[in-house]
């Protein structure tokens, strides 16, 4: 019987703000609750959303008052979060702190404080960063700081793992790859009939009406219209695609600074009747837009995972996407046509996709069931649970890290202390931070020492026995699970 944990998810990004990280946290938390764990979420206060809230399923959200710097990332004050964080952690009797998103300073601070308080920490990286420009170098240094003393890291794709390992100089074995997932029920094709649970295997939806040579093929694009989403490529490719393929049209949803370029392109080429721009749409409407099309075009220039292409495939769309970042790992090749991030190649790939659809070679009606079996949040929660088990020692080190503990003579390393878990001793932590760089290492050590002193001061001024323990929401019974996911 595996143990259950009290987990605190910490991130700057959470509802009411929409987005990929936000829904990841929500879905993971609720699935973890289903598996019998206690999960709370700590985020900063949003406008009109302060204090403590309960979401569906007894998910408790703490909105900590914090100064928001930019795009709802809070202001990085290394220590000011500590008192209230400690209070919440003690109130809720948290064992594991799980931070999300590399741009969230709340998350990094929480990891630092949690280690000072002697808790296990996990960090999930959702994004990719380069190494070239000054901003990235700075961000990578800070990431190295906070990940110097983290117990485990989760990345959403193998590319993301490689990136994070390089950025934060991590041991690759303490980085797990656990992809995002989709709620397949929310992304059903248009004429979808629930297969009866009894006769599951033979039943497949009937082949869709075959496309004739003159039927209209609709290409859907849903993305924020930013430079790094490849809107320039899109702007350049659309007129050529429409010129080459007469019976096609585009539906573009999303908003952003590059929308004006698209609109200019439409006007210049007089394509108003063939390109429809819907403007910003809400996440709930995504499915309704997607099912209007046959092909989903994703011209992004960088993407850690690309949840939206999974959603599109789940809606039964044939996916054309650029081969960047983690995208090639996400979908099997029969659902996608890959293009290089070049105008010509994108046009060619879209042409291929249109030809394949017209030849009725693609069984898009099967996509939904396939995607459903590939990605589910339950699976994600199971795999995250294995990580929690590993760092808290419920799984032996040998099993978790895949090598035998007795091998290294002393069996002691800075990354992992005895018995496969990182030591909390201040001196061990300082050793880990010291290796971060000539100057940065010393600075980081200073920060850690100050953090520890603050911790001691807090223990004196606000002793633990004076903090109320809050009653738990009734936990669900732990579902019978197959052994740890893999």
């Amino acid at each position: 019987m595996a143990p259950t944990y009290n987990i605190a998810m910490v991130s700057d990004f959470f509802f009411p703000q929409p987005g990929g990280v936000e829904s990841h946290i929500y879905q993971l938390s609720s699935k973890l609750r289903d598996r019998g764990h206690k999960v709370i979420i700590i985020t900063h206060a949003y406008k009109g959303r302060t204090g403590v809230r309960y979401l569906t399923n007894g998910l408790k959200v703490y909105h900590v008052p914090f100064f928001v710097l930019y795009r709802s990332a809070s202001f990085p004050t290394v220590f000011s979060f500590f008192p209230i964080f400690r209070n919440i952690i003690l109130r809720e009797r948290i064992d594991i702190v799980h931070g999300h998103a590399s741009l969230s300073s709340l998350c990094h601070e929480a990891i630092l404080h949690a280690r000072t308080m002697g808790l296990r920490t996990v960090y999930t990286d959702h994004s990719l960063f380069g190494f070239a420009d000054a901003a990235s170098i700075f961000a990578n240094k800070l990431l190295k700081f906070s990940l110097s003393d983290v117990d485990h890291v989760i990345c959403v794709s193998h590319t993301c793992k490689e990136n994070t390992v390089l950025r934060a100089s991590l041991d690759p074995l303490m980085v797990s790859v656990i992809p995002n997932a989709v709620v397949a029920e929310n992304f059903r094709p248009l004429d979808y009939t629930e297969p009866s649970p009894r006769s599951f295997t033979p039943h497949h939806p009937p082949p869709a009406r075959p496309l004739g040579p003159h039927d209209m093929i609709t290409i859907v694009v849903i993305s924020r219209l930013f430079y790094n989403k490849g809107t320039d490529l899109l702007t350049a490719a659309i007129p050529r695609i429409l010129q080459n393929h007469p019976h096609t049209r585009f539906i573009i949803a999303g908003d952003g600074p590059k929308a004006i370029d698209l609109e200019q392109m439409i006007e210049r080429n007089v394509l108003q009747d063939r390109v429809e721009m819907l403007g910003p749409i809400r996440h709930e409407e995504v499915r309704d837009v997607m099912v209007r099309g046959h092909i989903y075009l994703h011209p992004s220039l960088t993407e850690a995972f690309g949840t939206v292409i999974v959603e599109a495939a789940s809606c039964g769309l044939y996916v054309v996407c650029t081969q960047v970042g983690g995208i090639p790992e996400v979908l099997p090749s029969h659902m996608t046509v890959f293009a290089k991030p070049e105008e010509d190649d994108l046009v060619t790939a879209t042409g291929k996709a249109i030809a394949a659809l017209r030849a009725n070679k693609v069984r898009t009606e099967l996509f939904h069931e396939q995607v459903k079996s590939m990605y589910s949040w339950t699976n994600v929660a199971m795999r995250a649970e294995r990580v929690y088990n590993g760092i808290s020692g419920a799984i032996s080190e040998a099993e978790f890290y895949g090598y035998d503990a007795a091998n290294g003579a002393g069996s002691w390393s800075a990354t992992r202390g005895r018995s496969g878990v990182q030591s909390f001793a201040l001196i061990d932590r300082l050793k880990r931070y010291y290796g971060c760089g000539t100057w940065a290492g010393k600075l980081f050590c200073l920060c850690v020492i100050v953090d520890y002193l603050i911790f001691l001061a807090l223990e004196l001024w606000f002793p633990r026995d004076r903090i109320d323990i809050c009653p738990d929401w009734p936990r669900k019974d732990r579902k019978v699970d197959g052994k740890d996911g893999g």
Partner: protein, 558 residues
């Protein structure tokens, strides 16, 4: 490019060993990195780079989870063997997310982990002599700043007559202008220069590309305008500096630029007329850039005529036989006239402003002025546009990119239009420095001389230098040597005793100046090459892709 010199060859292997020890996270651990690495089951990040090391098996993986971590030693080896045999039965690890892998989530596959990592893929090795050659640009500018300061000190200490300074410099400026004008006229109408060939070839290529696969669009017109822009950006980047600083004095000159502008659409229309380009708005915008250029270079507008005259043959090339357009011929004479007019205007405006400038900083102490002018001149040196539009025009020298631009590791596209504000900042700083320095001088004549001299040194001379460099490498070297000698001699004379024989000191200064210049050029180049071994750019699939969009040239500029 050129084959790497011996120095650099030695730098390359070091490249692959030196810079990555920081990746070993536990370098401060008692176990030590050695032991860390000798641990066979422990994959450290540098294993990913060391592709020459034999791949080791990561034994002991156990997805089944039978919890056999407490094995004794013989048991462990057996365990390893079973793991190996089991993994043979396993499917191969794939870097895919949708596959149900039979590996744990934190499995790190030795064969595929970081396989797409590229280190220093775009690094172009530096060669010593081209680097030294490129550094002459900086030396030239520093020397001209030194000469300016020397002249100021000379005037300030009343060792040099201000009239002679401004007289000689004006004479030199006039000669330079004549020379330049001659170059420009020689270059433009015949169309025999490399640049014209290049521009025409590019234009034909663009046109062909546009005919192939696209309805006429904005990009076509911009692509066609591009040679024009290229030609004019050469002048924009440098020339614009001057009037922006002296705009207070030369506001009146804008009417020239208006007439100038009116001639531009004419030129571009003749050259667009072959194609049915509906994008008038954009051709207008392109020509408005030209007009900005012409506005900017109103004071010395011969540069803009290079664009108009170049337009002539290109447009004609499309229509029929190449004949120089009459507009260009008239424009040249007109431009000469307007240049002279504006020069006279500036002269008299300065003359009128000098009494005001003289008392500008009377309430400020001299120390502040020296400090301020030092910082301003430093600003000028650091922000000067050393690239000189070399990337736009096809300079005769093969190594047209200077060391300053090529050392930047940024991957962003930076066009010359982005560098413009920095360049004008440089010139503005220099003119401000000269203004505050001039305000220290006691008489109106001195103030006037110094200000005019500064305009010549900081506004016009860089344009000439840059043109000379593009024109011929020999002129450039001669100019550099002259400047170094001049600066050295000037400093020697200024530092020397007032009573003594100044020429001896001047000669000594020349020798020392040459030595310092040679040392600085050689030493800095050598240093830069030596620093290359620390270069560690990492590229991989996580980097944002650089989209290749055919219709817009500036994406794949660099």
């Amino acid at each position: 490019m050129a084959p790497p010199s011996g120095l650099h060859q030695s730098a390359i292997p070091a490249d692959f060993e030196a810079p990555f020890p920081p990746l070993v996270r536990s370098s401060t651990v008692p176990a030590g990195p050695k032991l860390h690495r000798s641990d066979p089951s422990h994959l450290s990040p540098e294993d990913a780079y060391a592709s020459f090391s034999p791949p080791r098996r990561l034994g002991g993986f156990d997805s089944g989870g039978n919890g056999s971590g407490t094995d004794s030693r013989p048991g462990r080896t057996r365990h390893k063997d079973t793991a190996r045999s089991r993994s043979r039965r396993r499917k191969r690890f794939q870097k895919l997310l949708w596959v149900k892998q039979s590996y744990p989530d934190n499995y790190t596959d030795q064969a595929t982990f970081l396989e797409n990592l590229q280190r220093n893929p775009r690094v172009r090795p530096y060669d010593f002599w081209p680097l030294v050659a490129d550094s002459t640009v900086i030396v030239q500018h520093v020397c001209s700043v030194i000469i300016f300061v020397v002249c100021f000190v000379g005037i300030f200490q009343e060792r040099v007559s201000p009239v002679s300074v401004v007289g000689w410099s004006s004479f030199a400026t006039f000669l330079g202008w004549l020379l330049w004008d001659w170059w420009v006229t020689k270059e433009s109408p015949g169309g025999s220069g490399d640049e014209d060939e290049d521009a025409r070839a590019r234009m034909i290529r663009d046109r062909r590309a546009s005919k192939e696969f696209r309805p006429p669009r904005r990009q076509d017109s911009s692509g066609l305008e591009q040679p024009v822009l290229n030609a004019s950006t050469v002048s924009i980047s440098s020339v614009s500096n001057f009037p922006s600083a002296a705009s207070s004095t030369s506001n009146l000159l804008q009417d020239h630029s208006h007439t100038q502008r009116s001639s531009h659409p004419l030129g571009s229309n003749t050259h667009n007329s072959g194609l049915l380009v509906p994008a008038h708005a954009h051709s207008r915008s392109a020509s408005s850039i030209n007009s900005i250029a012409s506005q900017a270079s109103a004071a010395n507008s011969p540069t803009t005529t290079t664009t108009t005259t170049r337009l002539g043959p290109d447009g004609a090339d499309h229509g029929g036989e190449p004949t120089p357009s009459p507009i260009a011929r008239n424009g040249r004479a007109y431009v000469r006239l307007s240049t002279i007019k504006s020069a006279i205007l500036i002269y008299f405006t300065l003359l009128g402003l000098s009494p005001i400038l003289k008392s500008l900083t009377r309430s400020t102490s001299s120390d502040s002025i020296w400090a301020m002018s030092f910082w301003l001149l430093a600003l000028n040196v650091f922000f000067f546009d050393y690239s000189g539009g070399g990337r736009a025009g096809s300079a005769p020298t093969t190594t047209s990119t200077t060391s300053t631009t090529s050392t930047t590791t940024t991957t962003g596209t930076h066009s010359s239009s982005k560098q413009m504000p920095v360049a004008s900042l440089s010139t503005n700083a220099a003119l401000m420095a000269s203004t505050v320095l001039a305000s220290r001088l006691p008489s109106t004549g001195q103030v006037f001389s110094l200000t005019l001299f500064s305009i010549e040194v900081f506004g016009l001379f860089p344009v000439f230098r840059q043109y000379a460099r593009r024109r011929s490498w020999r002129y450039h070297v001669v100019l550099t040597v002259l400047l170094v000698l001049g600066a050295g001699a000037g400093v020697g004379m200024i530092l020397g005793d007032e009573r003594g024989w100044p020429w001896k000191k001047g000669l000594l200064g020349m020798v020392v100046g040459c030595l310092i210049a040679a040392l600085a050029m050689g030493g800095c180049s050598w240093w830069l090459i030596g620093l290359q071994k620390y270069k560690n750019e990492i590229y991989g699939p996580w980097d944002p892709a650089r989209p290749i969009i055919i219709s817009r040239r500036h994406w794949d500029d660099d």
